[in-house]
């Protein structure tokens, strides 16, 4: 177990190192300059600016400085936001994104489990068909389309929730729904398939024969056994939420990481792009590792072994 963990953590660090390296050199290949009005600047001004941001040093030295800084959490200084350190920028914005992501995950998974279970219990009835149709639609409609529609019809027309911005809980409701529908649809399909399998097994027959209530059977026997494989989906969901946050935060103008990322791409703000890229990668790698460990713990049939995959 320990050997396995060490190996995984080693690969994790290797991955992050590679990502950092690739990102760094890709950034250097990027067209354009970080100064928006370079034509108007004198050579001396440019030189001073380059010195200030360390852009006059040779590439390898910039690279080493970058890696060294990253080791103690220094991600450089944003070009765009008046000299704010990237780590500060990220720290001030991660709260909103994390809250939104966690809420969307809970919303999607919990509702998905409920809908999937209902569909499985009422298999081959109109309820099942309805749930299947809904989950196909939920999977197919892009979240940014849904976000715009929700924003317009629910927030603007009906006025139930604020249209945009960030504040108390009511501000988070629509973005959460827009972000969570993808995981919801996926979870519902997944749970339904797993549960149909479990409901046909012998121990469910036994539970029925014992005279357990339908609710009891579903809750105590069927659901628990179909929940375990769901853990493996957390990784892909995280990716979906990170991706989604970029566009949802933009639509609802939420001061989060995703919105920041889009802005920094559009303004060639290299340090911020690199910082957010590293954050996303580190988050994903960590979550994949955690879910693998959890999966091994809750399902003893899956052994955490160092061999193969």
């Amino acid at each position: 177990m320990r050997k396995y963990l060490l190996k995984r953590v080693f690969y994790m660090i290797l991955t992050l190192f590679l990502v950092a390296t690739i990102t760094f050199f890709l950034m250097k290949l990027m067209p354009g300059t970080p100064y928006s009005n370079q034509q108007k600047m004198t050579a001396q001004q440019i030189q001073i600016m380059n010195e200030q941001y360390g852009l006059n040093k040779p590439m390898w030295m910039q690279y080493l400085i970058y890696l060294g800084g990253m080791l103690h959490g220094d991600l450089g200084v944003s070009f765009q936001f008046s000299n704010q350190p990237v780590s500060y920028l990220i720290a001030s914005r991660i709260g909103a994104s994390a809250q939104l992501g966690i809420q969307a995950m809970i919303f999607g998974v919990v509702l998905g489990i409920i809908i999937g279970s209902i569909a499985a219990v009422h298999r081959n009835t109109w309820i099942d068909t309805l749930c299947t149709v809904l989950s196909i639609i939920g999977k197919s409609v892009p979240n940014f389309v849904l976000a715009v529609l929700l924003q317009f019809y629910i927030a603007l027309k009906l006025g139930w929730f604020p249209i945009a911005d960030w504040g108390n809980f009511s501000y988070t409701v629509l973005p959460t729904i827009a972000l969570g529908v993808g995981p919801l649809a996926e979870t519902a399909r997944f749970i339904r398939t797993g549960m149909v399998d479990v409901l046909n097994s012998d121990y469910i027959e036994l539970a029925k024969a014992k005279g357990l209530s339908r609710y009891g059977i579903v809750y105590h026997h069927a659901l628990r056994n179909s929940l375990i494989p769901l853990v493996t989906l957390i990784g892909p969901y995280t990716v979906a939420l990170m991706t989604g946050s970029m566009v949802i935060e933009n639509i609802f103008s939420i001061p989060g990481i995703g919105e920041q990322f889009v802005k920094s791409i559009l303004t060639n703000d290299y340090p911020t792009i690199m910082g957010v890229t590293m954050l996303f990668s580190a988050g994903l790698v960590a979550i994949i590792l955690i879910t693998d460990i959890i999966y091994g713990m809750i399902d003893p049939r899956i052994r955490l072994s160092g061999s193969g995959d």
Binding site: L26, P142, T243, S281
Partner: protein, 341 residues
Amino acid sequence: MEEKIKLSPESFEALPKAAELDNEKIAAPSLTFVQDAWRRLKMNKGALISLFVIILMMVVAFGSTPFINHDSLVKSAPQYANLPAKIPGVPINGLNGKLKVSGEWVDEYKQNNVPNNKYFVLGTDYLGHSLAQRIIYGTKISLIVALVATFFDLTLGVAYGIISGWRGGRVDNVMQRIIEVISSVPSLVIVVLMLIVLKPGMTSIIAAIAISSWTTMARMIRAETLQLKSQEYVLAARTLGESPWKIAWKHLVPNLSSIIIIQTMYTIPTAIFFEAFLSFIGIGISAPQTSLGVLLNDGQKNFQFLPYQMWYPAIVLCVLMIAFNLLGDGLRDAFDPKTRR
């Protein structure tokens, strides 16, 4: 009372000779793997309809190439800007050139002095471009992206998976670590990095999707190859001295075909989504080219007043995604009936 029945050979009627011999014959025609899958797919109404929708969209999108090209996309007609849909002979509000302006239906065509014989089936955008033309062009872009992603899935993904699974050992280990690194960076980040290094446009979107789309396929193919490798027929082929390339092509690929087809059908909607997503946030396809994502982004800005500009591309994109998802599910059930519930 005995009565002898006299029987002559004529009183017997010979049965057709073949009848007795055919007792053992299997009535149903024997079907190949693909025929069998096709038979099952045909029973799935949703998948069949989706297949026709996709074929129809492909025919319209690619057939439009001679009519909708760079010139017709650039040419703007400001005098026709922001006209709603008008289909002659359809008296439904919203499709007859009328637009709801502060609660009243107003005939925009009359207000803007548009000649009577001029009409736009899906209306126009803010530069007077025909929305129908742009949607068809956008659909073409989406389909091209889908085809390219499929191509990389089929070539790079399948080859990588087979080599990794077949060689095993050290090679496999290294190849799997590479995949692990690629897939632990959110593919969005790869796409974004590619887009800012190359310049935004069709090529960079395709390059970006090419880099990130094939890893799932490679993983699944590898896992399956590992299993197939130990099958007797592969062993037999090896014993007879068949070259690995030939074994891969003749024995592995046909047996992997169902996984390949199913996985491809899941790559396609993802690729289409990515393209629309990138164009929507403004780092994908840029003017004068257009795509469904660009149209959605344009439409979203005016959604409050000109809702049709967002609705039409949104509907087309959703139909496209739903069709591919349904077809994917249908193909999975058809090729792998065990998973069918």
